[in-house]
């Protein structure tokens, strides 16, 4: 990697080299048993240079040719955007607990036994479903060096399990999924990997007519992504810079219910985005975004920070809005781990308060609707009818829509005490809101 940096120094004023060596071992079970096991060993570099004041970017897997990689970035810069971007000049130190040798040494045989136990547990509890189980260990070795003197490296490891069950009866197909990530191998047990799915499956025994109208909705931690996605966009430094965020002028204002708090926390090792530094080498940090309903901060990468005249909050990541990219994509502004403050009520308490409503666990078509304005509009694939304070069965062919900003300001009924990790990097409780537009399709 340092060869590449030296080569880049020769052709540009500023340069940054990101080097990833990733080793992962995914195993997949389907109804036929274990169907495949794969060892994935990927290594690549991404180079950013500023040459004649312009930004260029190139990636390669051919580490034997450092000059070629540097030249590719420099030639991209020749036609690139004029950019006052400066690479990170100070960086974080590796984070404790983000790497476990015990994960690195798990072999396929051990993963296969664990997968088999998970698979068996599902089929014992629900013999009528098809179950698929995916288990994976990942070890990423990230190195980053730049011409400002940053030179850091970190090893990060993760083990994950994802379970999906499908129940088919009388032309009705019901698919339910859940996943867990852990930094320690023993955190993934057959019980932990299946508890939520089995609970939701049991509640889905009966199909009941779906309600319509302006109704209260309880979002499970997984379902709450429908509400949170507009906020994740709206709090991004990029949306603020482009002034397409309704929060752009609202720093210090009370915009949400006082029970709502959101923290971006790149240092929380239970979240899959944890690390000592982001993909631009900036130290990870804990940034309160919303405190007691008040907008406190936005999150920035180096570029949006420069455009806005603030400091990066360590939110430069490869990959899309939710990050998780490998070495290929250029870094952009993205959340690290989002921690949504929990409440004191259990999910059952939240449901008990509702006369007629819906519990939503999985939505389809994320991102439909005018997200920038806070609007969401989703078909639900896993949802339940709430009547007189309890769940009476599963509903289907239902569409929910509303405005996340309005619902989380005026219509928050309560937050659960059941916060859990979903999508790897969001730690979210159940969220109950009133007045969601619920439309049952005939």
């Amino acid at each position: 990697m340092h060869d590449v940096l030296r080569a880049a120094e020769g052709v540009a004023e500023h340069a940054e080299v990101f080097h990833l060596r990733a080793r992962s071992l995914p195993l997949g079970f389907d109804s036929e048993g274990l169907s495949s096991a794969k060892l994935r060993q990927i290594e690549g570099v991404a180079v950013r240079v500023i040459a004649d004041g312009k930004l260029g970017y190139a990636t390669s897997t051919n580490l034997q040719e450092p000059q070629q990689i540097a030249d590719a970035a420099a030639s991209a810069a020749a036609y690139g955007e004029t950019c006052a971007l400066r690479f990170a000049h100070a960086s974080g130190t590796p984070l404790d607990g983000v790497y476990s040798e015990r994960i690195e040494t798990i072999d396929a045989e051990q993963l296969a036994s664990l997968g088999e136990a998970i698979h068996k547990r599902i089929l014992e509890a629900a013999p009528d479903v098809e179950a698929s189980v995916k288990l994976e260990t990942t070890v990423n070795e990230v190195r980053l060096a730049n011409t400002e003197g940053v030179d850091v490296q970190e090893r990060r490891s993760l083990v994950s399990a994802r379970v999906e069950v499908t129940r088919t009866q009388d032309g009705d197909i019901f698919v339910l999924g859940d996943g867990i990530n852990a930094r320690a191998p023993d955190a993934i047990t057959p019980e932990a990997a299946t508890a939520n799915v089995l609970k939701l499956l049991e509640l889905a025994e009966h199909l009941v007519p779906a309600p319509s109208g302006q109704l209260p909705v309880v979002f499970t931690p997984a379902g709450s992504i429908a509400l949170l996605l507009p906020l994740i966009l709206g709090l991004s430094g990029k949306s603020v810079h482009l002034t397409i965020s309704p929060l752009a002028e609202k720093l210090g204002d009370t915009v949400f219910d006082s029970r709502l708090s959101l923290i971006d926390d790149g240092l929380e090792i239970a979240g899959s985005a944890a690390g000592g530094f982001d993909d631009e080498g900036v130290a990870s940090q804990r940034t309160p975004l919303v405190e007691a309903g008040v907008v406190r901060n936005f999150y920035y990468d180096l570029r949006t920070a420069m455009q806005t005249g603030v400091q990066s909050t360590g939110n430069g990541y490869k990959g899309g809005v939710l990050g998780g990219g490998d070495f290929r994509s250029a870094p952009g502004v993205s959340l690290s781990n989002l921690i949504v403050g929990a409440g004191s009520a259990s999910q059952e308490d939240l449901i008990r308060e509702i006369q007629s409503g819906v519990l939503v666990d999985t939505v389809l078509g994320l991102g439909q609707g005018n997200l920038n304005a806070g609007d969401f509009s989703n078909n639900v694939s896993v949802a339940y009818r709430i009547e007189n304070g309890r769940i009476t069965g599963r509903v289907k062919n239902l569409m929910i829509s509303g405005n996340a900003y309005r619902l989380l300001k005026d219509n928050l009924l309560g937050l659960g005490n059941d916060a859990k990790w979903v999508y790897g990097r969001l730690h979210v409780p159940s969220i109950a809101v009133s007045d969601v537009s619920v439309a049952a399709k005939s």
């Binding site: 079970f29 274990l34 096991a37 990927i42 897997t61 991209a76 036609y79 197909i173």
Partner: protein
């Protein structure tokens, strides 16, 4: 290289071993509003080993070619782990052994075009869109070229090298009325060919911008049951998304309920209805001389004379179901094993002219292009990019929010006229399945007329 690969395969203790090595070069230019958002150039080398040991698949992926021999050993070991826990051993259908070198010749090879030219061209289209109207508030103009050389070898003796070019252009505009309403206009081009595809698209850039603006004043389509005329692009997306995926044998294998409906010989539509997946169509983004199992491309009639005729197979599903492999086992890149995917999928020409089809419609909707959609087994829902009202056989006003939904099998049976103006298009993205996205494909159709389609208003 050839010797290295052959040596690595020779050392394998598996019953079947294959190696695929890819070299790929990519350039991407993206403008958003006034800004050059992305300028990216990439070059990659990587490979994958797949071994069948006692009927279990073991797989290893690598970048460092010197690791090939150890990856073979690793894949064999993993195959053993899988075989011990698989219910049924995997068997592969027999296919001919092939030794071939398939090179492409591009008249205006995009690899020889300087990056500067690509940036300038993209920027020029972007400026046209920005300059078209004051109501244009955002643009998305992307140029992408990709050249891949794939080497495939297996322990049966097959050794194939093939080159796959792919080039796409997206001209996207967003217009706003200043009161919160934002509408889009898009023109998309993609083919497996040379640089000429992206030249001379100035009028299309204008069209994209003008449509975004015009959509601001378009009325929402009235909801309800309508006679609908689909343009070739939307009909192509429909046949790929709503029907094509059901013809992938691995999908049916996991969905026994649907497999019952998808029995060969079952009647799905009028006798004039022909649906085909074909591994070669001039310029088609789905063109692959050989798939990623080394199987020669084919022309597969999914529906012949209105009846289900054939499915798409890999060597594994072909052996399981007693069919022939169809050249549809594809992977998006060397990090993935091949799964059953479409190539170029289309409804074949029928006999009606566009005029004849319009004449039969007193009140209906002309739905054009697709912005996306979702399918959940038999149920589908697609958003047309835009549409027009049809009254008394005449195309009328522009309408928006055209969302078509329904049951696939009922909808196929309700196709009552098939045009004679087939067009295929590659678009700019690709198909997604099993975590592998985007895979270059094309889809197409002539205009088709469908009775009683549910159109959602809002």
């Amino acid at each position: 290289m050839k010797q290295k690969i052959r040596d690595a395969i020779a050392r394998s203790a598996a019953d079947y071993t294959e190696v695929r090595v890819e070299r790929r070069w990519l350039n991407r230019v993206l403008f958003q509003r006034e800004t050059l958002e992305t300028l990216e150039t990439a070059s990659e080398v990587g490979g994958i080993v797949r071994c069948l040991k006692n009927g279990g698949w073991g797989i290893a992926v690598f970048n460092d070619l010197s690791q090939l021999p150890s990856c073979v050993d690793e894949a064999v070991r993993l195959g053993d782990v899988v075989a011990a826990r698989a219910k049924e051993p995997v068997v592969l259908a027999k296919v001919p052994i092939v030794e071939e070198d398939v090179r492409v010749e591009l008249e205006h090879d995009f690899r020889t075009v300087p990056l500067r030219k690509k940036v300038e061209l993209t920027q020029a289209y972007n400026m046209i869109i920005l300059g078209e109207s004051e109501r244009i508030v955002a643009t998305q103009v992307q140029y992408l070229d990709r050249f891949t050389e794939v080497t495939f070898a297996n322990s049966e003796g097959t050794y194939i090298v093939q080159e796959l070019p792919d080039i796409t252009l997206l001209l996207g505009a967003a217009a706003s009325d200043g009161k919160g309403d934002v509408q889009q206009g898009m023109e998309m081009f993609g083919h497996a060919g040379d640089f000429s595809l992206v030249l001379g698209k100035e009028e299309h850039a204008k069209t994209a911008a003008q449509r975004a603006v015009a959509m601001l004043d378009a009325q929402p389509v009235p909801g309800g049951q309508h006679t609908v005329l689909l343009d070739p692009r939307l009909a192509g997306v429909f046949i790929h998304e709503a029907f094509g995926h059901f013809c992938e044998a691995d999908f049916l294998h996991k969905n026994p309920q649907l497999a019952k409906i998808m029995t060969l010989g079952n009647e799905f539509g009028v006798p004039e209805l022909q649906v085909i997946d074909e591994g070669y169509v001039a310029g088609g983004r789905g063109n692959v001389p050989y798939d990623d199992e080394g199987v020669r491309r084919a022309k597969t009639h999914l529906i012949k004379d209105g009846r289900l005729h054939s499915l798409m197979h890999s060597r594994e599903t072909a052996a399981k179901m007693g069919a022939e492999p169809t050249g549809n086992a594809r992977a998006i890149n060397y990090e993935h094993e091949p799964i059953i995917r479409m190539t170029n999928t289309y409804i074949e020409n029928g006999s009606s002219t566009l005029d004849e089809m319009l004449q039969g419609i007193d009140r209906g909707i002309y739905a054009i292009e697709a912005y996306g959609g979702q399918t959940e087994f038999e149920q589908f829902s697609f958003s047309a990019a835009y549409g027009y009202e049809i009254r008394n056989g005449e195309i009328g006003d522009l309408v928006r929010n055209v969302v078509l939904s329904g049951n696939l099998f009922e909808t196929l049976r309700s196709i009552d006229a098939i045009g004679n103006d087939r067009e295929l298009s590659g678009g700019v993205g690709g198909c997604g399945k099993g975590g592998q996205f985007p895979l270059p494909v094309t889809a197409g159709s002539p205009h088709i007329r469908i009775q009683n389609v549910t159109i959602g208003g809002q």
